[in-house]
């Protein structure tokens, strides 16, 4: 028995999304396609230069939790917002999606985290994240009952940026493994991997993490190689299951000597890639915790990722359970 299919842990962030041209990224020294960490001063500067925007709840693991719930899975989330308007919006959106979210909000500064996301005409997103209240997430926020009661815990590598979230992850992973559960993570971003490479490898090799999600850039960054094949072989040895996404080339799932090749969902026009990896993980983990084979888990991931990149914002508006049924994946 389990209380939840997936417990996701991550930075609780409201996205502020606007379009820009390629020159804007260059002029403002924003690394394209990456998550750029920013402080208060730079946040104010970039916002002053940003065009008209819309706001939507985001955050990598939060998007995954919302996706799992949209598939009909039972999801919970740990993440730190502040008691302000954006924090109220964040809490509303994730709960309204059916995700259990009970982390105590921070009473006082810093404010709820926000990420200014610039979307270029090719649909690529470049994120500029002010971590705000996320820096206060710590082991005291780990609800042991949820950590023990979820089939799979999923956390984002981004949690190594705030100071104490990694302690929360180690504590939650301990609860999970003691209860016979599994722990998964996403490598999040190639530069994030570069910042915490040794620690991420240790998480995998020590068995703290059982299942790893990555895109090809993150995986290559992890093993500091340009070879997809070499990196995949290393990853195959370092964790029990790995799912590696490759944009329009689909994804590859490996488990020991087994390899599953997953096709990408065909997409007419890429509007905004925000949330693609998060929703891939959502589909995969929904399928995995439902007991589906890894091929179908990957197909569910492709389906959700393919939907979210055809709209602005990081969480699909469609009901993913309905979409999966239409695609014959349930």
């Amino acid at each position: 028995m389990s209380d939840y299919d997936v417990l996701a842990i991550g930075n609780a962030i409201v996205d502020i999304i606007a379009q820009c041209d390629e020159a804007f990224l260059v002029e403002n020294r924003i690394i394209k396609g990456a998550m750029n960490l920013i402080d208060t001063e730079r946040a104010e500067l970039l916002y002053a230069r940003m065009g008209p925007a819309i706001e939507a709840s985001g955050g990598s693991a939060g998007n995954t939790a919302a996706g799992v719930a949209s598939f009909g899975g039972r999801a919970a989330f740990f993440g730190k917002v502040s008691k302000d308007e954006l924090g109220a919006i964040y809490a509303h959106d994730i709960r309204a999606q059916g995700v259990a979210f009970d982390t105590d909000p921070l009473d006082g500064p810093p404010p709820t985290a926000r990420s200014m996301i610039f979307v270029t005409p090719d649909g690529e997103r470049s994120m500029n994240t002010y971590l705000g209240a996320c820096v206060e997430l710590g082991p005291e926020d780990v609800e042991a009952t949820k950590a023990r009661g979820a089939r799979v815990i999923y956390f984002e590598g981004y949690l190594w940026d705030p100071p104490r979230a990694k302690e929360a992850i180690r504590l939650a992973a301990g609860h999970a493994h003691a209860a016979g559960r599994e722990v998964s993570m996403t490598l999040s971003d190639p530069f994030c991997v570069d910042r915490y490479r040794d620690e991420f490898l240790d998480l995998m090799r020590s068995g703290t993490v059982d299942i790893v999600f990555a895109n090809d850039h993150e995986m290559k960054s992890l093993y500091q190689t340009a070879s997809f094949e070499m990196a995949l072989e290393a990853l195959r040895r370092d964790c029990r299951i790995a799912a590696v996404t490759r944009s329009e080339k689909g994804s590859v799932v490996v488990r020991g000597d087994e390899t599953f090749i997953i096709e990408a969902t065909p997409v007419a026009t890429i509007v905004d890639t925000t949330g693609a990896g998060d929703l891939y993980a959502a589909g995969f983990l929904f399928g995995y915790t439902a007991g589906y084979d890894l091929q179908r888990c990957g197909d569910l991931g492709s389906l959700a990722a393919g939907l979210v990149i055809q709209q602005i914002g990081p969480r699909p508006r469609q009901n993913l359970r309905d979409e999966a049924a239409k695609a014959g994946l349930l």
Copy 2:
């Protein structure tokens, strides 16, 4: 010489937009297609029942000002936000669009206004507006230089809901007419017309308002008739110019004995009708202040309205000047 083409005055509102089915509107007694005014208690109740949402700056006249600026017109806006996160978002978005916005924000409660907008599968929007800081807009917020320096003032009938905004309108209209400018208004909503019918008719018949925007429902509500033709004849007598929108049937513009029939822009799928009337007024007023004939003013209105209803949110993401050029309207 003029400093601005259009000075818009309206309730400064952040939209909170979610999808719902028809049954939700019935169960929650939300009048479909209308602007429902709500208090704090009902706002909390509806938000608790609302699905995951996105946020976008809105407000009728604010949307029009943003639209005029997107066409390349010189726009200014008067509207009251509070010094809170949503107020900062509102001010950012309208300024980032190039609109001059300098109304002093309210320091303290109530918070910035928000409207919970439920979009049904047919694309119709049903609004639930908590006026918040908007109730504090008053004549002290009228910047006389801007009121005298804009070719056309545009305000929303919705401003009769807060207590003192109408005083601001009468003051601004006085400045405008003294400077030889024109004043326009939108009737906003059939129920709003029902609340303030006599005052709206007096604004028109006294010459306080020169140009009137309405949709067919609002116009029929104004004259309490089911006959489009009878209402249009009455409207023709009561103001100098009137533009009446009729959804997919396009619009009709009248000036004295002249009548201009405007076609609607063909639209494949209506996603969200929010902002349709506001953007029609934006296109019309951009054209009008550029000196175009009324047929072309109407065509510009149709173009902008047709674009905004094909996306979620009340302000088009496209650059309207580029779109007008592509359509051969510049």
